[in-house]
Amino acid sequence: MLETTWFILWGVLWSVYFMLDGYDLGLGSLLPFLAKNDTERRIIHRAMGPFWDGNEVWLITAGGVTFAAFPTTYAMMFSSLYSALMLILFALIFRGVALAFRGEVDNPRWKAFWDGCLVVGSFLPALLFGVAFANIFRGLPIDAAGIYRGNLFTLLNPYGLLGGVLFVCLFLVHGSLWLAVKTAGALQARAGAMAGRLWPVLLVVAAMFLLGTRTQTPLFNNYQARPVLLLIPTLAVASLIYTYVLIRRAAWWQAWFASSLTIVSITLFGVVGLYPNLFPSSLAPAASLTAFNSASSPLTLKIMLGVALTFVPLVIAYQTWVHFLFKDKVTEQDVTYDEGY
């Protein structure tokens, strides 16, 4: 029971991370396609400015919770996916530094360099998180001794890449919608149009992913055993379609929420299908790591449950407050105000 509770929490933390960092990873990737001049680029920076760092802490928490609740999975998952994870970490370094350093020197080449870093540093994690999770859904070549028999390229199989493209598309739509929420005028129109153009691509990729999941992974076994769980993929499909309805109505806030729900439910669809596996082996089923054979001791799980149930709601409360505090649209005045200093 304790293990299952933690498995669910684990899935929820990752899906919240994807929902939150998803919009600034998507928006960062789209920077050159949405901004026409430096002022617009600064507005885009500013649209994520107060939020991106707080969003990224969800990754640290998701990683930390994997370590705390399922240390064997943490050890196996992160050492097996070594190169992919290192690429993500370096990309996130460039992303974070780009956001912090860009405005420090007033030189077009300096700014162009960091804009490039922001794009690459946002796009790569979006792609690689998708690749990694799709491969986990599919199972990895782990032998009976618990050693990963593969490398970075093993992960780049068709289904893995499909997962990567799905995450990229989800985040691009999500990021465009965020910008549409945070801006007005031409930039908002461009962001909204971008979301509208990307959505059909997302729909096709999502459909392919669903089909791929049916044929390439054992995820649907859990859904056959308990059909009530099919509510989760149904919710994913419904919120994905409703996102488009809201985009057509130019209801940006609502569309962003629908897109958030899509990301969360797609992640949870995968995680629920995975249960009780956390890191399944495609070579030796007995070597698969599950919520039960890789969990921490009951004492640690209980203490951490107390910590999580006390502090995560608190975090959600103050981060929600921050989003309300900075709910206004970013204007040209906001980004030129401090020019003198």
Binding site: R46, G49, P50, F51, D53, G54, E56, V57, I60, T61, G63, G64, V65, F67, A68, P71, T72, Y74, A75, M76, M77, F78, S79, Y82, S83, L85, M86, L89, F90, I93, V97, L99, A100, F101, G103, E104, V105, Y148, N151, S296, S297, L299, T300, I303, M304, V307, A308, F311, V312, V315, Y318, V322, L325, F326, V335, Y337, D338, E339, G340, Y341
Partner: protein
């Protein structure tokens, strides 16, 4: 080189680099919070400008600290999988608690502070930086509780082929953790103080914004003086704990080869690890080491020869690092005490100001040396007495680690140069003009 050596180099490099930025975050956040509090209470615009000027530097420094910290959390899994599996039940939960309790708070409220100058009332805005300062030190506390557990594991049982938690309170309240915490954050506060004094000295020597920088200097001086004195006193108590809990580390810190009662403190020596002796020993003070370590000049101090060679840490490095740290620690007391007597008329002491300008790197050096003592002195153990570093490494391909290490060296070198260039640029630029400060709100 094998995976073990490459992983050690990578982790050491990544940790030391991360810790070039963390101490300034810890120290400067409190100083900025004090500055803004003075502004809120007195309405003195200079203090608002001070919070904003030092805040700009803080933000650049903080960003590098954050991005280099994330890689550390994940490296326990990527490079030290066997360690993570063996002690994750205890160690992993401490890291997770750090993120949930402290890091969320720190990151979220720093953003509010940066972008909230106009949106929040001065009091609420000031509260944000206090939350950042509190959360930074809280973050350090949990990380150091985790580190203390690696130095002196408590509250666990060996079960199911791993170390499992048996007493959570024992882990989070062990006195050694608080020694390490106090020692580390005091060092960081000294660094913050010296940084502000050094940059202020630069401007005072050029007679720019003298009122502004005199106020900054004096505040930082008081802060650094308190913690420099506290650090020396506490450092002594801390050393006595090490003597009890980690005898091999203490013997290496002092390059003491033979177990002896009435052990001397040697003022100058050159250790010769290969031949298990010291080449030169000048200035022996009989009984002083016994007195320092056990509060009795007759006490027996264990020498390195009591431990088999495979249980000893690298002696020369631990010894030199310890001497550097202690020497600098006393120098910080001297410099801040001298400053205390000059505080009313700083501009009349250009010589002292020049020394303080060039002293900026010294606390950085002291802190890095301190971590060498802690971490190298713990070797060959990753968890003292429980797990060896060589048994902790991941079963992964050497090429992967070689490539990532090369990437770390390349990226971190560039990042280090850039970060210090930007911090220096901002520091030299000085504060925004008074008129602008009153009207200006948010950062771009």
């Amino acid at each position: 080189m094998d995976v073990l050596m490459l992983s050690r180099l990578q982790f050491a490099g990544a940790t030391f680099f991360h810790f070039l930025f963390v101490p300034l975050t810890l120290g400067l956040s409190i100083l900025i919070a004090i500055m803004e509090t003075v502004y809120v209470r007195t309405g003195d615009q200079d203090y608002r400008r001070m919070a904003r000027f030092w805040g700009k530097i803080f933000i650049i420094n903080f960003a590098v600290g954050v991005v280099t910290g994330i890689t550390l959390e994940f490296q326990f899994g990527t490079n030290w999988a066997r360690y993570s599996k063996y002690v994750g039940d205890i160690f992993g939960s401490l890291l997770a608690i750090e993120a949930t309790l402290a890091f969320f708070l720190e990151s979220t409220f720093l953003a509010v502070w940066i972008f909230g100058w106009k949106r929040l009332s001065p009091k609420l805005h000031c509260l944000c930086i206090w939350l950042v300062a509190f959360a930074s030190s809280m973050s350090a506390l949990w990380i150091l509780i985790a580190n203390a557990w690696m130095q002196h594991p408590v509250g666990f049982v060996l079960r199911n082929g791993r170390a499992e938690l048996s007493d959570f309170l024992a882990v989070v309240t062990q006195p050694f953790a608080f020694q390490i915490f106090f020692h580390t954050v005091s060092g960081a506060y000294i660094l913050g103080g010296f940084f502000v004094m050094g940059v202020s000295a630069y401007h005072l020597l050029r007679q720019q914004e003298t009122a502004f920088f005199t106020k900054s200097f004096r505040l930082a001086l008081t802060f650094a003086l308190i913690f420099a004195v506290a650090e020396v006193v506490q450092g002594h108590i801390h050393g006595a704990e090490v003597a009890k809990l980690q005898p091999t580390k203490l013997a290496s810190m002092e390059a003491l080869w033979d177990t002896q009662a009435n052990a001397p403190q040697v003022l100058f020596l050159i250790p010769d690890e290969k031949n298990e002796r010291n080449l030169v020993e000048w200035g022996k003070i009989p009984g002083a080491l016994s007195l320092l370590a056990y509060h009795s000049s007759q006490a027996t101090v264990k020498g390195l020869k009591d431990f088999s060679p495979e249980d000893r840490p690298p002696v020369a490095l631990t010894f030199v690092a310890f001497r550097v740290m202690v020497g600098l620690g006393f120098l910080f007391v001297l410099l801040t005490v001298v400053g205390w007597f000059k505080r009313r008329n700083l501009e009349a002491s250009p010589g002292y100001l020049k020394i303080m300008l060039y002293a900026i790197p010294l606390p950085y050096l002291a802190l890095q040396a301190g971590w060498i003592v802690t971490e190298v002195g713990r070797q060959p153990w990753i968890v003292y007495g429980l797990m060896r570093t060589k048994d902790a490494v991941s079963p992964i391909a050497t090429s992967q680690v070689a490539i990532s290490l090369a990437a770390f060296i390349l990226v971190y070198s560039a990042l280090g140069v850039l970060a210090f260039y930007l911090i220096g640029k901002q520091a030299r630029r000085g504060p925004e003009p008074l008129a602008a400060a009153a009207g200006q709100g948010e950062e771009s």
